[in-house]
Point group: C2
Chain length 456, copies 2
């Protein structure tokens, strides 16, 4: 609830500035929809460069391309920030089937990110299906030993916001191999994090924690349709052997970069505002929604301000973080450098939930600043943006720790995100130009307001 004082202040201020603010948001939106560059940038990033797995050649091309585009915007400073990132490669196309004696149930799988390979000839074992890590623990090592564990808890379709369904499910993917390995399992298959029934496996990071390398077991995702088929087949043939083979491998850390473009603040050059997304992606699609969209939208915020001729009072940076997907090394390095330089970050906004129509923002924020933000809500209503709430901001800006920082995440419509997330269909054709541009305009609008009114 806004306090009476803040409401009073708003009405006083509004006589001089609410109209100006509304006019500026209008200009930002019109400019994004008619002179925006983000869609064309994403076209190149997705269709010419493609998937940008950390440490890959195409990730390096993505760095050079986005830097070259920022160089053309007439910013005050464009630079690369060195960061060491893990390099993991998928290797050959994965193979899996359930052996039913006279026939095979072929399964569409992909290795989970950072997984170890199977033995070169593949791995065959009987399967135990579980719905959760708890169910696995109840089984215990005697039952689990020598088996392939099949985690098959679906995303909850009753959740209105799909990220909640993801949050309620993803422990199977992130921790399944680690926990099953502890109990002696030889491999893990995880139902893809996808609300839709289709044939595409969805990858994503699996985390072995401190499991010694020689005790790590291979983990793969199986498409939702094949997860259903496998579950059904196992009910009929509980002792059937599952075969799978993957040749993925970890190549160690390699040098990569965060890409940074900056407009120096006219009044508060030492107070820094960040807009960002992550430049790396998984390797199966071209990383258009996750998170090419967030990168080009962040670049667009700077482009919009340059086009309109708005000079921010605070220093404004677009940061394209490397390695969100399998390490967050870019985000950690950015914060380490900020600490080393004694930089003061006052605001950070991340877009990493897809290039869909914007619905609002989720804020990591104290009550005083949230009261201020809430007073801006009516300014966003012409753009059908209504969601202003406290919650998670973004993974890459997560490490930022300045004392008075407000962090926020763009919240696009979430219904279609997990149809594409980490899968071969996260591609440019699934992005709508206007939805992408409206997201960038929403981001620029919020940055403008924080720039005008500051952090409390």
């Amino acid at each position: 609830m806004p306090t009476k004082y803040s409401l009073f202040l708003f009405f006083v201020l509004s006589t001089v500035s609410a109209q100006t603010d509304a006019t500026m948001l209008d200009r930002i939106h019109r400019t994004a929809l008619t002179q925006g560059k983000c869609y064309q940038w994403l076209d190149t990033l997705s269709n010419r460069i493609g998937a940008r797995l950390s440490g890959s050649e195409s990730a390096a091309k993505g760095v050079m391309y986005t830097k070259s585009q920022l160089d053309q915007l007439g910013l005050d400073n464009v630079y690369l920030q060195e960061v060491m990132v893990p390099k993991w490669e998928r290797g050959e196309k994965e193979v899996a089937y359930l052996n039913l004696g006279n026939k095979r149930l072929e399964l569409s799988i992909c290795a989970l990110g950072m997984s170890v390979a199977t033995p070169i000839a593949g791995l065959e074992a009987s399967v135990i299906e579980v719905q959760s890590l708890d169910e696995l623990k109840v089984l215990g090592s005697e039952k689990v030993k020598g088996k392939i564990i099949f985690f098959n808890r679906p995303m909850d379709p009753e959740q209105i916001e799909t990220f909640r369904a993801y949050g309620g499910c993803v422990d199977q993917r992130s921790s399944g191999a680690r926990e099953a390995g502890k109990l002696g399992a030889v491999g893990v298959l995880v139902r893809s994090m996808n609300l839709r029934l289709d044939d595409l496996p969805h990858t994503g990071m699996t985390n072995y924690g401190d499991t010694p390398e020689n005790l790590r077991i291979p983990a793969a995702a199986v498409s939702t349709s094949d997860a259903e088929a496998l579950s059904k087949a196992l009910k009929k043939f509980p002792k059937a052997q599952l075969y799978f083979r993957q040749t993925c491998s970890y190549k160690g850390e390699v040098l990569s970069y965060n890409v940074i473009g900056e407009i120096t603040g006219s009044e508060f050059p030492n107070q820094i505002m960040v807009v960002g997304g992550h430049l790396d992606s998984w390797d199966l699609g071209d990383g258009s929604h996750d998170d090419g969209a967030g990168c080009v939208q962040s670049m667009e915020v700077l482009h919009l301000f340059k086009t309109i001729g708005y000079k921010p009072k605070h220093t404004l940076r677009a940061v394209l973080f490397m390695n969100e997907e399998n390490g967050v090394k870019g985000g950690l390095q950015y914060e380490a450098e900020a600490q080393r330089k004694g930089e003061n970050h006052v605001f950070a906004l991340e877009s990493d939930a897809g290039g869909f129509a914007p619905r609002g923002f989720s804020f990591e924020i104290d009550d005083a600043n949230f009261s201020q933000v809430s007073l801006w809500k009516p300014l966003f209503e012409p753009y059908l943006i209504h969601l202003f709430r406290k919650g998670h901001s973004g993974v890459d800006i997560g490490p930022l720790k300045s004392p008075k920082i407000v962090k926020a995440g763009l919240q696009p419509d979430s219904q279609r995100y997990f149809d594409h997330h980490h899968a071969a269909n996260d591609t440019f054709d699934a992005v709508n130009k206007r939805e992408l541009e409206l997201g960038a305009a929403a981001m620029a609008s919020l940055v403008y307001l924080f720039d005008q009114y500051g952090i409390r």
Copy 2:
């Protein structure tokens, strides 16, 4: 603004019913997302039956299929309502090019709905590009005579809601041929009503008004990309001749049907609530968004109530109207029958803006009822539905004229609608299951609240 009295009433009522209402909306949404049938119905309607142009064989199949599905829901009454509809056929694939002497600029066109054919050998004439009907009138008959008029005003990309951009543009398509014909033009080409640049022509009704048949001139839509190319070529070669050929024809009126499924009201059987969409579509895609979605969502409202066991107090009808696209004969016939039978309609809700994520409702409503509706808004917030406003409801329910009726239109997110509208890519794969189901749930929720609290 709600009056103090209505706010007071709301708080009194809320002690007994707000919790019940919230619980009911929750059940409706959970049921739609887990037991909904609309997506599967749409799959059949789109992929097995396909485009349902009024008077076509597949429109007749659409009637029989949807009736058969309503028959299985255990309703109190399922019936067909006869309606005479115009039958128009596209004929052969249209051809168009700009003759540039040594080469041709091929143009992707389609006849506008209800257009007359060109002469069988096609039509060739020089072209005048205009941006508006006003510009055409200024030219006058001397300059227009014998020419093909090319209407090339684009949809306004600065509009946040795409229906506004459509509304600001569609006069070229609906009235261009009539007005150009009056001035002696021999044909009309209209830029497709599409915000995106692509190669698909978008059809839609053209209206000759009372122009005698022998004075009607052929009209076609050209894809947005080709409209740009044509405009550019005409600047260079202003006297170039444009050729186009189409063999479409009007076959007169034929018998078709509105499809109606009904649950008799337990308390007010003579007060009727309608949920509806239109069963006919244009012929280029399969009519999934326009308006297969609205039909299956309307059927879903009844299915959800049956599944949940909610018995409406008022009689509830799903009406699948025939012939919205080129005549609204189904909507007019439905109202004529209602008048003849002395039926009293209290509420009508149409879904005809695509099967995208629901954002809210647009109401044709008086102030007293709008105050009541506004009090329900918080009930919709868990479903990210925020838009409650006065405005257009729906074309098919437009003719309804009961004295105390409230009419409403579902407002889905509009950004992608005109990418598909009336074009070959209005197909099932462009519909997301959850977005479709959430729209149906939003409709059922609004119907439930009107059923509970009635019309003021």
